[in-house]
Amino acid sequence: MNADPNVLLPTAEPISFLSPDGTLSPDTPHIGLSDADLVGMYRDMVRTRTLDTLAVSLQRQGQLGVWASCRGQEGAQVGCAKALSPDDWVFPGYRDHGVTLVRGVPFPNVLKQYKGVWHGCYNPYDHKVASHSIPISTQLLHATGFATASKFRGELNAVITFTGEGGTSEGDFHEAVNYAAVYQAPVVFFIQNNQFAISLPRAHQNAAPTIAHKGVGYGAQGYLVDGNDIIATYFVTKAALDRAKSGLGPSIIEALTYRMQPHTTADDDTRYRTREEIEAWAEKGPILRFERFLRSRDLLDDALEARIREEATEEANLVREELINAIAPPVERLFDAVFTEPTEQLSAQKRFLLHEMGEVEA
């Protein structure tokens, strides 16, 4: 503990290898991604974008109550998710659709949560992905506890958890990072700084030089990365995970990115930001940039791109179908899911409801 403060501070400039025009910096370290990996990253960004777009339209059609779009953040989300090992765990927020997609959580199940089928529509143990957390940053503490538990059992996995630059203002963020540093827990706090918390611009969220500068105050490693550069994001996340797995404790990664859509479908972002700002960021978007890079390396051509997009669209059609047909579980679950064993009180309330619905005698 009490590590050298200079080492814990982030770099002065964000770590970035891929410029917006798709050129890879000559200083890029060896990253160890095969051509297939690279194309796979592209594919998952396209899938994320396509499914996210589907979700927005499903919401407009009244199929979802609300949707929090991750458009523009695919580089950060797919990049970091690709750095995970199968045994690693994920504790996501409500906008981390690219992450859960890469981890294999079926997208219809994510959508069902926004349709209101049930609050958590996938089993966290299936894909090692906790239920998305809506109360901001509360899940960070779960991640710290989970990671510490793994460490205590001598397991070699790590945990990654997500919040926004807004979420770093919550007390739970502070407690989670502090506990993690004290326990030297193998956990990575991945902060997508998408410049806004609903309407609040980052500059009013905190006055820190960067969010990555918060690390040193806990004895955690701070990393500042260009979150729209999927290669840099992958690289930095891998480094932080390796660090965690070697017993060196937690890191805070600040991934600079931009929320291209309103906060949710219920939001009106024209009240607080300009079209020009959004367009300027679109130019720096993660998919376009990576596409250019892949093309420059001859890893992508029109045909492959078309196929990838087509497959994503087909996937979206299936997802759409499943979502539209999704219905709520039987009302009994409302009562039976509360405790691990039924209580008299809840059984009586269940009978009351079923009776009211005409399904049982009083």
């Binding site: 109550g65 049930w118 007390g171 009240r271 579980p329 409302l334 809840l346």
Partner: protein
């Protein structure tokens, strides 16, 4: 003329800020955006960003700094974005907002209003449909108020802001767009009295907030069955005007309490306990409670089963009649 409950609230904030420059408004997204429900719309433009401003994303911070502002002469009206996000601020509310005045034997006043959109019925995701009134009503040192009509939205919010005590102001969010046909009120409403919303003899219905309208609809339906229900809107949950309920029950002999919050230790428990104590011989039947089940608030597709419905209310009335 007509106005919505949301407009009543917005106008009340506006008028309170005009009337007293110590009144300031802050919370998440209340400034330029005007709040996610637009209850604070236009305030920053009119009064500037030192009278209406955005806070960082931290609810304990919102309420904790409000205590400091209040100690230093301001009258903060803060917004908690949704019911489910009140809990991070709960320590500041219980440990300081509720206690500072009595801790200092009256030397320190904390005229803070904490506005919280609450309740379900809007098809929301988890944590956006909670009914936290019990937590506040049980906590000594807080006033707890909730309007059931657009008029009261204006009048009670003005009264809350004028009060030198801390007030938890619960806004029935699914009724934000409910309309009243009258003119917007211009002054504060009486603060500590329940109100009869309909008169009747068959039974008394005590309710508040979002279910006032549901109960009025039930009363209309009941009329067709030949029952006349007396709907009492509690308005102030703490301190509770139990006298009005007792007075009604003394006439009707029957009482149903209706709310969305879970039944166990919901407001219905207190109302039932008080009424059986004060109107023991008037009660022809046990007080019935129509409340949310003792389950976490359900997902959108299932919430209708949880919320008090007209049928469920009328069934309860019937139970009191058949007892």
């Amino acid at each position: 003329m007509s106005f919505t409950l949301a407009e009543g609230l917005n106008q009340a904030l506006h008028d309170a800020m005009s009337a007293d420059e110590r009144v300031i408004v802050f919370g998440e997204d209340v400034g330029q955006l005007g709040g996610v429900f637009r209850i604070t719309a236009g305030l920053q433009a009119e009064f500037g960003n030192r009278r209406c401003f955005d806070t960082p994303l931290a609810e304990s911070g919102i309420v904790g700094t409000a205590v400091g502002f209040a100690m230093n002469g301001f009258r903060p009206v803060v917004e908690i974005q949704f019911d489910g996000f009140m809990f991070p601020a709960f320590d500041q509310i219980v440990s300081h907002v509720a206690k500072y005045h009595s801790r200092t034997d009256g030397a320190v006043r904390v005229p803070i209003v904490i506005r919280i959109p609450y309740g379900g019925g809007i098809g929301a995701v988890e944590h956006h449909s909670e009914s936290p009134e019990t937590y506040f009503v049980h906590t000594a040192g807080l006033r707890v108020v909730t309007p059931g009509t657009p008029e009261d939205a204006y009048g009670l919010l003005r009264a809350a802001i004028e009060s030198d005590d801390p007030v938890i102001f619960l806004e029935p969010k699914r009724r934000y767009y409910e309309k009243s046909d009258g003119d917007l009120p211009t002054s504060s409403a009486e603060f500590t009295k329940a109100a009869y919303r309909t008169r009747g003899e068959t039974a008394t219905i005590a309710t508040y907030g979002p279910t006032v309208r549901t109960c009025l609809e039930a009363a209309r339906v009941a009329k067709e069955e030949g029952w006349s229900l007396e709907v009492v809107d509690l308005r102030t949950l703490s301190p509770l005007d139990i006298g009005t309920v007792v007075e009604s029950v003394e006439r009707t002999g029957r009482l149903v309490v209706v709310h969305e919050a879970s039944g166990t230790l919901g407001m219905g428990a207190e109302v039932a306990a008080l009424v059986q104590e004060r109107a023991f011989y008037s009660l022809e039947a046990p007080v019935q409670r129509v409340a949310g089940f003792d389950i976490p608030y359900p997902a959108a597709l299932l919430e209708e089963h949880h919320l008090p419905s007209i049928d469920r209310i009328l069934d309860a009335v019937e139970r009191t009649l058949e007892y």
